[in-house]
Symmetry: C2
Subunit: 101 residues, 2 copies
DNA sequence: AGCAGATATGCAAATATTCGTATATGCCAG
DNA sequence: CTGGCATATACGAATATTTGCATATCTGCT
């Protein structure tokens, strides 16, 4: 399972993909909406959406002209929240470390 | 924060590193012990331990001859557990998807 | 000091990811 | 069925990561 899990985390290892997941955690969004919120070229966004889709973390449905994306599992939001906690902890631990020296 | 978070996940995106974190989640371990449990060359292990150290996810203390590693934050174990849940969900979702086609 | 075991670092080749740009496809209006 | 907007894919150059191997460093012992 480490192999699978590392694939999963590798998928999360990209700023734009994280950003998108956070936004989708709030609510479903069309590509156009996402495009307005993250500051990148359209192909760049579609590429990363494709990565997330292949990893099975998001799904897209066509809706009229465009496409709407949503998270497959809401626990992804939870995961990102937990990771924020850990990051804070790790960051302050590192700061204390430096403080002691 | 997406940048920081993606760095964090990138660090997790490696089978050996995941394996090590899971083992350290159970209990602290010396490099020698880790070496016996994961099946890799010693330099490979030390390299990945170094990555984890630089990322601030683990710390090492010298103990006699060798070095003992431990997790900086036990919530890392929790995180890995949550990710397991999500993986299962995602995997079955994907399977159902295929089943429907 | 000199040795031996344990751990860490350096570095180049192989491999994988990202980014930009061009282009293709899907869908609706007219 | 054609134009135009929305989204997706292709592909090469730039960049980052991984891997294997050689070697350095640290520690306790004699």
């Amino acid at each position: 399972m480490p192999r699978l899990k590392s694939e999963f985390f590798k998928t999360l290892g990209h700023p734009l993909r994280i950003r998108v997941l956070e936004l989708l955690g709030e609510s479903d969004r069309s590509v156009t909406e996402l495009l307005a919120e993250v500051g990148v070229e359209q192909p760049a966004l579609s590429q990363q959406l494709a990565v997330l889709r292949r990893a099975g973390l998001v799904v897209s449905r066509r809706e009229g002209a465009g496409a709407v994306y949503s998270l497959v599992d809401e626990r992804l939001a939870e995961l990102l929240a937990v990771s924020r906690q850990i990051l804070l902890e790790v960051a302050t631990a590192a700061r204390d470390e430096l403080g002691v020296l």
